[in-house]
């Protein structure tokens, strides 16, 4: 599984926007390029849809947590990281919701995704835990947020395995690889902030 991280690094320049127009050159990122212009194409399977639906839910949770952290983070380095995560994940959410809508698929899940339900585990981040971030004392905020958000980004990497293993659509699989790479990088930065 891990060697795909290298593969995507090699392929990334060629995958950029490769599906938006089958015949034209891959679109260059320009000042007026909107995320909405990144199309996923028509070849997809149930795993692509399942992953994207689960990830929409996961991203909305992440944006709730980062919105709180932008206001409450005590460490300026953490605040900067959170702002960057918020910015990138907002665009990711728009992009993947657009893919689902383009396929005529729902962007909602009936039940919160839980990779561990079959053996009795709650996911790291549920509504109560996310809400608790708004009330934890300032002095404890950074540790509380980092503990929760590290778990959340580990979960994102686990979710991404679903699409890189079983997806069909080139854009969703490429997105899954970027999720693994970016979340791992964020986890590295968060662990260093945690151990400051």
């Amino acid at each position: 599984m891990r060697r795909r991280l290298v593969a995507v690094a090699l392929l990334a320049p060629f995958l950029l926007g490769a599906c938006s127009t089958p015949t034209a050159e891959p679109p260059r990122a320009t000042a007026d390029t909107a995320v909405a212009e990144i199309k996923a194409g028509e070849a997809y399977n149930d795993t692509d849809v399942m992953f994207l639906q689960m990830f929409v839910h996961h991203q909305r949770q992440a944006l709730q947590m980062t919105a709180t952290a932008v206001e409450r983070a005590q460490d300026p380095e953490l605040r900067t990281l959170v702002q960057a995560v918020q910015a990138t994940e907002s665009d990711e959410l728009s992009m993947i919701e657009g893919w689902l809508k383009g396929w005529g698929e729902s962007t909602e899940v009936d039940t919160a995704p839980n990779l561990h339900a079959h053996h009795g585990g709650l996911p790291g981040t549920g509504p109560a835990e996310i809400k608790a971030l708004t009330t934890v004392p300032d002095a404890e905020f950074d540790t509380a947020f980092l503990s929760l958000f590290l778990a959340h980004q580990h979960n994102a990497m686990e979710l991404a395995d679903i699409v890189t293993d079983g997806g069909k659509n080139a854009e969703t699989k490429s997105f899954g690889e970027r999720v693994k790479a970016s979340r791992q990088g964020e986890i590295q930065q968060m662990l260093k902030l945690m151990a400051k």
């Binding site: 891990r2 290298v6 320049p13 000042a31 960057a84 899940v109 561990h116 503990s147």
Partner: protein
Amino acid sequence: MRRKISYPLVALGMVASSLTVASPAQAHGYVSNPPSRQALCAAGTVRDCGPIQFEPQSVEAPKGSQRCDGGVAQWSVLSDESRNWPARNVGSSVTFTWVLTARHRTADWEYFIDGTRIATFDGGNAQPDATVSHTIDLGKFPGRQRLLAVWNIGDTPMAFYNCVDLNVGGGGGGVVPTRPPASSEPPANPPAAPPAAPPAADPPAAPPAADPPAADPPAAPPAAPVTGDPWAAGVSYKTGDVVTYEGTRYQCRQGHTSLNSWEPSIYTLALWLPL
């Protein structure tokens, strides 16, 4: 990493066929601070750890082990004392913080030094809070210590294992290697990683562009270039900084420390605006 999931919208057969092909260690939790050995690997502080760097939460093994790797061959690097694990300077009272990626019913949390249990915290066979911290007095154990922290699951025979290297009485913060810091100061040319487990946070082994930097990111982000230097991972960029990537100049729109996959592209317009 593949594991069963519960997902009501999808036919069970599809889930079973695509997601349960292999189900090795379930990944659930680790000690993040003071950093456990797997946390040091995941942070990139200690390099060439193999697959544990991607899933520090996965050191799961049957209860009763006293080993840093829980006796799991896949994680044996964690029991490799030749790795010269950096020890965290701590006072006599130490608070251990866990990251839990799945909150399982918990029998208890145990802490050992040299095979002796020095603290235990009852989990009440309940689901733990999202943030779990335990404070322990280590005053009777001054100096360099290898502490074993164990999370015993309530409804399975399994536990999660973490070794935390400490220098007790060394004050708060800081790291003191007992030998020359081969691990915390990576060499200029680190040994090649195993093919199946490249350290993905490094700049790609095979550069995506014709002229990216080949060096590892420095431990501390250098001052950011503002004049259109090539984009690189591990650099602290500020809003307004300009970089060059694959022949195009980009301006930073949101300050961040760069990482692999945050290079300027159509996917990262939130960070980089093409000029």
